[in-house]
């Protein structure tokens, strides 16, 4: 059990550091590290395209992305009511592409936004490809799926570290009482926020 705790902790070390540091930055928008959007680099280019024969919006976006050499996770999509204009966004950590396509004239305008390392950090923390607010959205980029698997692995790994840590603690009778106090304090604090606030003030 000690080996499991040690080796798993060592394997997950860099992932824990990433999510810890990016979590801190997300919670402190006034920090200079969080001001990455203000120093973004934005470039725009226009070019002709061959309009892909596609039935749905995702197919159309994917076809345009292939032509334009853009890879990433497709975000918001918007088609005009007449069907002559189509806009969509493609996201990958550190980069955002806004594609405005004129289907009638077979031309696109692509705005590329590049963010600095802090922007990459920020995006990696949240890059799941899905959203609780839009449950119908699915992941369409293979690397988004890889990263989301990594996030799952980290979450499960942390739970295993907790369980193995509890096991390792309980093996030492002399440490049980002070350990119980520490654990109890943590549980009480968490429970106050998760359950207590609604009960007291809801």
């Amino acid at each position: 059990m000690r080996k499991l705790h040690n080796y798993l902790g060592l394997y997950l070390l860099t992932f824990v550091w990433l999510f810890s540091a990016s979590g801190l930055i997300l919670n402190h928008p006034a920090w200079s590290a969080a001001q990455f959007w203000k120093v973004r680099e934005e470039t725009t280019a226009q070019r002709a395209i061959i309009v892909p024969s596609a039935t749905g919006d995702i197919e159309l976006a994917a076809g345009l992305m292939t032509q334009l050499g853009i890879v990433g996770e497709i975000g918001e999509m918007k088609r005009s009511s007449k069907g002559d204009a189509f806009e969509f966004q493609v996201v990958r950590p550190g980069r955002v592409f806004r594609v405005e396509a004129r289907i009638d004239s077979a031309r696109v305008r692509v705005t590329q936004i590049r963010l600095n390392a802090w922007g990459v950090f920020d995006a990696l923390h949240k890059f799941t490809g899905v959203s609780l607010d839009a449950p119908a959205r699915t992941r369409d980029w293979a690397l988004t799926k890889v990263w989301s698997l990594a996030m799952d692995a980290l979450a499960l790994g942390l739970m295993i570290l907790i369980v193995s840590g509890l096991f390792l603690w309980y093996r030492f009778p002399v440490k049980r009482v002070p350990g119980l106090i520490a654990l109890g304090a943590g549980i009480a604090c968490c429970a106050f926020f998760l359950f207590g606030l609604g009960t007291l003030f809801g």
Binding site: L10, L143, A155, G186, F195
Partner: protein
């Protein structure tokens, strides 16, 4: 008093680090569990057992009279109303169209939302309270305080306290990683295998990041 021999100092440092790793790890583990479980929820848009739609119960809709001085600062209006209707929680955001005399805002606590619609002309506030469930409460705590609506965030002291608690949890986790690495290096038998796991983790981390970002 003569200086303590290095071995005794090393032993004392090791014991202190080991005990701090243990007890601080125990203390922070419920917080880590909150973040880990909610991370899986975010990753899979999971709201178990029906989540919000099943847990949502419109307890009541009530209309109360409020006395509010109009202001360009919509948050200030929301604060005045929150105090008068005696509902406590974090004002999530404030919505008011330009020139409108109607203001809308939610008051949130983990697992509960109170939506307030204020009619400044009529001097009334329509209040609707609903429970969103413990799973929604978990994701709410994970996101708070967060980068969004930064100008209104922290308008309730308890939310600010949670923000500080979240910071402390992160710093404790960083300490646990540092102390954990130290405790591992002391164990000679585990060094080689540990280096392999550390290297494998670093390699997979770098490989994925480079593939996504490059």
């Amino acid at each position: 008093m003569p200086p303590r021999p290095p071995r005794a100092v090393f032993k004392a440092f090791y014991r202190w680090t080991r005990d701090l790793h243990l007890y601080l790890g125990l203390f922070v583990s419920p917080f880590v569990l909150v973040y880990a479980v909610s991370a899986i929820q975010f990753n899979h848009t999971l709201m178990p057992w029906g989540g919000v739609s099943n847990a949502e119960v419109a307890r009541e809709e009530r209309v109360v009279r409020v006395v509010v001085s109009d202001s360009k600062n919509s948050l200030e209006i929301a604060r005045q109303v929150r105090q008068q209707i005696d509902v406590r929680g974090e004002i999530g955001y404030v919505r008011r169209k330009a020139g409108s005399r109607e203001v809308r805002f939610p008051i949130e606590t983990p697992g509960h939302v109170t939506t307030v619609d204020v009619d400044l002309s009529a001097g009334t506030a329509t209040i609707q309270q609903r429970s969103t469930g413990v799973w929604d409460g978990l994701t709410y705590l994970h996101k708070m305080p967060g980068p969004h609506n930064a100008t209104v965030r922290g308008n309730w002291l308890v939310t600010r306290f949670w923000g500080w608690t979240a910071d402390v949890a992160v710093y404790l986790i960083l300490f646990l990683t540092a102390s954990g690495v130290y405790l591992w290096t002391v164990l000679r038998a585990d060094r080689r295998t540990g280096m392999a796991f550390l290297g494998a983790g670093l390699l997979s981390f770098v490989a994925i990041i480079v593939a996504i970002v490059a």
